[in-house]
């Protein structure tokens, strides 16, 4: 059976976040929280969260092409390399 991903009907995936925004990589399942500072902005995210996603949650825009929060990181275009 084919199942389609629909962000509107699967709120669990994008929890806290604004559904109109793609955070780059799927959420981490870890229950351990870590704090990071990106460009001077402090943010707390679950352990295993990608830098791309943490930055997006903190409203810091890192350009990306092949990354999407409904796919595992693919790493093909390298646009997001910082």
């Amino acid at each position: 059976m084919i199942t389609y991903y629909d962000p509107k009907t699967e709120p669990a995936v994008n929890q806290s976040a604004d559904l109109s925004k793609d955070l780059g990589t799927p959420p981490s399942k870890s229950t351990v929280q870590v704090s990071v500072q990106i460009d001077g902005v402090n943010i707390v995210v679950p352990e295993g969260t990608s830098v791309l996603r943490a930055a997006a949650i903190a409203d810091i825009n890192i350009p990306k092409l092949c990354a999407s929060d409904n796919l595992e990181a693919f790493g093909s275009c390298r646009l997001c390399a910082v």
Partner: protein, 537 residues
């Protein structure tokens, strides 16, 4: 030679042996013809009562085909031997002494090239019958495994950590730490994968080992299985090694018959199954994640890390991926102790490295030595200069992605950190030598071209960068009049190299700049406009 045979100084008739190698390099130099000739003589003169053993190579490739005869003093070597020399050698030789013959080299183990080596991993290569389990055991085989049975998984991993062994496939990652990661994963299906793709130019250590002593690799993989809790192993072998394929399969089948592979190995509660899988000729399938894709039956596309293969590897399960030499060094570590292995080497490079001398070199072959020897000693003492007898100009160490080193860097010691400090890599220990006729600009262009051909195509800096790299180098080389334009192109090439080095997903695109930049830096004259006579097309 003046020797009077007495009873206790001659080899008993039953153990008279003649050795001719079945190694691919030896065969390419005619060892099969020599072996055939030996066989027909032994058949027609049954009174000689000797047997022919097809062993691995001793690694002195310029002396192949090498023929050895066992005597009370040790094995006597003759080489390079042609089929027509065989009759003479066998019939002059009474199996009890070194005879005088133009091809006689004396005792094999006294040859300076061989004697000065520290053969730990290659201890049995060229000595035993590769697929004979009893011969393997009588030369110290399976001692490491027996010791491993008496240890817990953690104790085995600790022993490997203690040895300081770092991966010999290229990245030099500590093997013990990799095993620890896999051991730490909860109990589930885990795998041991041996990387036998050996794609680096000028390398043959993996092949020589698999053809000369495949059981040491089998033993290393069983120990790895015990240490992390894996009961299935795969050897991913490049398809260009048909002889190694054949020998590995025979060795595995013999090990199974002898109870070392399968269920309840050696009467213990442990299981270990082992299979050989063939690649299909792609360089990138030597990269571990691409290799795993290929093993799973997919196109060899590199995976993004994390997750590490140690956590999600083959079929998504925790997997140890190690090079042939890394795994084959483990039995020594378990039989002699991690500290004994650690006693060899320098700095953070512990143990020995099987170094492969190739390219334009008079005495090519395999030299296993502790880390720390200088390149110069290897090139001159062991290699004896260029085969062409011309001046040596450049050497490339560590395969097609390794830097080209000019003469002023040849005093560098073979050590991972020393090499890193001059912007070079040791990689798998392959050294390719070039004489003064080499065109380094062409070599730089070739590096980009190689990347273009072998790229898996997944990421942009490598897939597109390599194509642009070839174009820019062509632009530099074909620019005869506009010096400013030429310099701009050189700058562009550096810029492109930065993008590839820092932006690529794996070391294929990430290291292609090494040979390009080192050629540009140390051999800049080769990139200048050449007199138009050479440019004529």
């Amino acid at each position: 030679m003046n020797h009077s045979p007495s009873d206790d100084s001659s080899i008993p008739v039953a153990s008279r042996k003649i050795f001719v190698s079945l190694d691919t390099t030896a065969r390419s130099r005619g060892s099969d013809k020599v072996a055939k000739q030996v066989e027909s003589i032994l058949n027609s003169q049954p009174e000689l009562a000797a047997t022919l053993v097809r062993n691995g190579s001793r690694g002195m490739f310029w002396l192949e085909p090498l023929l050895e005869i066992n005597t009370p003093k040790g094995r006597v070597a003759y080489g390079p031997v042609k089929a027509e020399d065989v009759n003479d050698i066998i019939n002059l030789h009474c199996f009890d002494d070194v005879i005088e013959h133009p091809l006689c080299l004396g005792l094999t183990e006294e040859l300076p090239w061989f004697k000065s080596q520290q053969r730990l991993t290659f201890a049995r290569v060229g000595i035993i019958d590769p697929i004979d389990v009893d011969d393997y055991i009588s030369h110290g085989g399976f001692v490491g495994l027996t010791n491993a049975f008496a240890k817990t998984a953690q104790q085995i991993v600790d022993e490997v950590k203690e040895s300081g062994l770092r991966g010999r496939g290229g990245a030099a990652f500590p093997t013990g730490i990799k095993w620890q990661t896999v051991l730490n994963e909860p109990e589930q299906q885990k795998y041991i994968v041996c990387n036998a793709d050996e794609g680096d130019s000028g390398t043959f250590a993996d092949r020589m080992l698999m053809e000369g002593d495949p059981l040491v690799l089998v033993e290393g993989m069983i120990i790895a299985g015990l240490s992390v809790g894996a009961d299935q192993g795969y050897i991913y072998l490049r398809s260009e090694y048909p002889q190694a394929h054949d020998i590995l399969n025979k060795a595995i089948s013999n090990a199974k018959t002898a109870g070392y592979l399968g269920d309840n190995i050696c009467g213990t509660e442990h299981n270990f199954h082992l299979e050989v899988r063939l690649g299909a000729g792609a360089y990138i399938c030597g990269e571990e994640t691409s290799l795993l894709e290929s093993l799973e039956g997919k196109r060899g596309l590199v995976r993004a890390k994390p997750p590490l293969p140690a956590i999600e590897g083959l079929f998504g399960q925790p997997t140890v991926v190690n090079n042939v030499i890394s795994l084959a060094s483990v039995p020594y570590i378990l039989s002699h102790g991690g500290d004994s292995y650690r006693d060899f080497g320098m700095g953070r490079s512990r143990g020995t490295l099987p170094i492969q001398l190739a390219g334009n070199i008079a005495q090519g072959g395999l030299v296993e030595l502790a880390f720390g020897i200088s390149l110069n000693e290897l090139l001159q003492q062991y290699g004896n200069g260029c085969k062409s007898k011309r001046a040596m100009r450049s050497v490339q160490v560590g395969g097609p992605l390794g830097a080209y080193l000019p003469a002023e860097q040849w005093d560098t010691a073979l050590d991972y950190e020393e090499f890193a400090s001059i912007g070079a890599v040791l990689g798998h220990g392959g050294i390719v030598v070039f004489d003064d006729t080499v065109d380094m600009a062409a070599q730089a262009r070739f590096a980009m071209e190689f990347c273009e051909v072998e790229s898996c195509g997944k990421c942009t800096p490598c897939r597109i960068g390599a194509v642009r790299g070839v174009e820019v180098i062509d632009k530099i080389l074909n620019n005869e009049s506009d010096e400013q334009g030429r310099q701009d192109s050189v700058e562009l090439l550096h810029d492109l190299c930065d993008t590839m080095e820092f932006g690529s997903l794996c070391a294929m695109g990430g290291m292609t700049p090494f040979p390009v930049r080192s050629a540009l830096k140390y051999f800049p004259d080769d990139f200048l406009p050449q007199p138009s006579t050479q440019k004529a097309q």
